[in-house]
């Protein structure tokens, strides 16, 4: 049992699987001796050797393609995209191969791979180091997209992702990599890959979010509580497939929903959740479904990034707006 951060929980899960499954290899740029630019693979090359924790040449298409090739031959590769902004050259392999191999071959060849990528803004980073384009991948049939938002969920979900016999994109909210520590038992227990986590119960409004916006959302819920508004908070965690039943159930109870994401709004994960409410949850709705999101603009360089990202206050304001509309 140890008190660790989210990024340490990532390392811990990787170490656990490297130790218990010889088919697992970790690969990517700078994941070896350097332990990754965020130290998510810190110490692993030293412990498991550079045949298990492999520094690759700087070529993302190659990394993704080799990861597919490794997985297709029965290994369980865990590749890293150094930042989500550099995942684009991997997309052809993710969409055309990882997501399709089992279906294409009617189960003959499978792709038990994981691609990890730190994502999101707010860390004062250079251009293209702050992207949140999870929606692109959530749209692609055949891959799972998982986003942890706490150390223990990072540990359990990453273990599940590595063990899952199908490809998983594992997106790590880097803004909260070191936000707080939590006790994580290193017992190899995985968490389910198709369930939301209810972080807070409430009766007036359902706040749905994932990744680093969990922080602002929980803060908003606390502040709303003080003003007499009881907010339920749901961490979606697995944005594909998404556990809409839990969200629908919650909205059935509260009648109101606000979805919070850092990503741009247009055709995003928040759109899907809201659209499902407009279909399957329409009769429960007491107020418009609102979305608190990044703007449909380029994530700015860091001088303006705070003005791009949703704030606790914006969440509170939006909840207040729909409470008023429906009171």
């Amino acid at each position: 049992m140890s008190n660790i951060t989210l990024v340490e929980a990532v390392s811990l899960a990787l170490a656990y699987e490297l130790k218990h499954d010889n088919d697992v290899v970790v690969l990517g740029e700078d994941v070896g001796i350097n332990g990754g630019v965020f130290r998510a693979t810190s110490g692993l090359a030293q412990e498991f050797g550079t045949d298990r924790v492999i520094d690759t040449p700087l070529a993302e298409a190659m990394i993704a393609g080799m990861t597919v090739g490794l997985a297709a031959q029965g290994m369980k590769p865990v590749a890293e995209a150094q930042f989500m902004g550099f995942i684009y050259p991997m997309i052809e392999h993710i969409v055309c191969h990882a997501a399709r191999m089992r279906n294409r071959t009617r189960g003959r060849i499978t792709c038990p791979l994981v691609i990890r990528a730190p994502f999101g803004g707010g860390i004062h980073a250079p251009e293209l180091h702050s992207e949140s384009v999870e929606a692109i991948f959530a749209h692609i049939p055949g891959i799972r997209v998982v986003i942890p938002s706490s150390p223990s969920r990072a540990y359990g979900l990453l273990l599940a992702a590595i063990r899952n016999p199908d490809p998983v994109l594992f997106l790590e909210p880097k803004r909260i990599y070191r936000l707080h520590k939590e006790e994580v038992i290193d017992d190899g227990e995985e968490l389910p890959l198709d369930m939301c986590f209810e972080l807070r119960e409430g009766t007036d409004v359902t706040l749905v979010t994932w990744g680093s916006m969990i922080k602002e959302t929980l803060e908003a819920a606390d502040k709303l509580e003080k003003k007499g508004v009881s907010a339920e908070v749901i961490d979606v965690a697995t944005i594909s497939p998404i556990d809409m039943d839990t969200i629908l159930e919650s909205v059935e109870k509260t009648g109101r929903c606000v979805i919070i994401q850092e990503a741009a709004k247009h055709c995003s994960v928040s759109s899907e959740i809201s659209a499902t409410l407009a279909d399957r949850g329409l009769y429960s709705l007491l107020a418009p479904v609102k979305r608190v999101t990044g703007y449909d603009t380029i994530m700015p360089l860091f001088k303006l990034e705070k003005k791009y990202m949703p704030t606790t206050q914006r969440i509170i304001d939006t909840v207040n707006e729909i409470m008023e509309l429906s009171s």
């Binding site: 070529a59 298409a61 393609g65």
Partner: protein
């Protein structure tokens, strides 16, 4: 001024278009007539199959089909040089390789007939399926090769790419990967002169395509891709080197796409008839036959018997294909994941209802 590195690209041919042995050595395969005859038969079978497949397409019994006419030498040369345990990462027209490895003609037809079950073929279960996105198979092959290296298995991957595809990043990155990790793999550039309508010269002004391998410091050579013996011998040598830890090789095999790109293409729009006629004179099957006949290993009668046999086998495979029942609508769902997620469970049910 210092020269820090020097490179040559050699060209290998052992069997001339006239069916005579040329070149400075005589590869083993050239005098192993039993094997050579078997390979010859596979080449002929591949061509008979190819002709039939085009007919099936023309008569509405098959979808778009990519002919391998003229490629039989390079394909069977590769297929016959590999071990069963090796992994082949094909593009989309290397039937000759696959027939050597146990893929069935009916499976090829299923694939082009719009049925995923074709890719669940009887060839080595570890071979990759047909790969539509150009060059991506090359990095898969690199990954597979790395798995053999990590597991210390004496296996190699062989992967192919077209002259057109040799321009794409994935091919070039796979050369780099092979170099960086010293991978047990062989990359064969099948230069058939054309990438749909784009001629080889427009892909690169480099003297050869083989020289792309020099970028990673890999041994890089050209072979006459219409020379079964040269392809077989050089691929085999490269595989031996790879298996012994010597790393990867890039082989450019020069052949010619005698047919259209696929049945959806009309090469007469962009290509001279003369060029095709000239190329036909160099095609790979006739020269093996001449060589076998010159050496009294093959007769007109044997040829006739072979053609008969091929036709019968092709017909019986076509029958298997034509008799295959439609896949159930649920197949759309049932191979998406090892375990179907809940949202797909309901979509599956819906599709099933709709199909009633």
């Amino acid at each position: 001024m210092t020269t820090v590195a020097s490179f040559n690209v050699e060209y290998k041919q052992y069997l001339s278009p006239a069916g005579e042995l040329v070149g400075d050595i005589t590869p083993d395969i050239a005098t192993d007539f039993e094997q050579l005859k078997a390979l010859y038969e596979t080449m002929v079978m591949t061509r008979v199959f190819d002709t039939k497949a085009i007919t099936l397409q023309r008569t509405g019994k098959l979808g778009t089909y990519a002919s391998s006419l003229g490629h039989e030498g390079v394909h069977v040369g590769i297929g016959s040089a590999m071990n069963y345990e090796d992994v082949f990462a094909p593009s989309y027209r290397e039937y000759g390789v696959q027939f050597c490895r146990g893929v069935k003609m009916s499976e090829v037809l299923l694939f082009w007939g719009g049925d995923e079950r074709g890719s669940n073929f009887s060839g080595p279960k570890h071979d990759f399926a047909w790969c539509v996105p150009i060059a991506t198979q090359n990095t898969h092959a690199a990954g597979a090769a790395l798995s053999f290296k990590l597991r210390k298995e004496p296996r190699c991957t062989v992967s192919v790419i077209g002259d057109g595809g040799s321009s794409k990043g994935d091919f070039l990155e796979s050369i780099n990967a092979a170099s960086a990790f010293k991978l047990p793999m062989v990359l064969v550039i099948i230069n058939n002169g054309w990438a749909i309508s784009v001629p080889r010269e427009k892909q690169s002004s480099g003297e050869t395509l083989a020289q792309k391998g020099i970028g990673g410091g890999l041994p890089s050579l050209q072979v006459d891709g219409n020379d079964l013996i040269a392809v077989h011998h050089e691929v085999k040598a490269a595989l031996k080197r790879a298996r012994e830890g010597g790393g990867a090789t890039v082989i450019e095999a020069i052949t010619y796409r005698i047919g259209d790109h696929t049945t959806a293409d009309d090469a007469s729009r962009y290509r001279d008839k003369d060029e095709v006629e000239n190329a036909k004179k160099l095609e790979p099957i006739a020269r093996v036959r001449r060589y076998l006949m010159n050496n009294n290993q093959w007769s007109v009668q044997q040829e006739e018997q072979l053609l008969e046999r091929c036709k019968r086998m092709v017909e019986s495979e076509v029958k298997v294909y034509m008799d295959t029942p439609m896949p159930p609508v649920t197949d759309m769902f049932d191979y998406m994941f090892a375990e179907l997620p809940h949202d797909l469970v309901s979509q599956r049910k819906f599709a099933q209802e709709l199909d009633k």
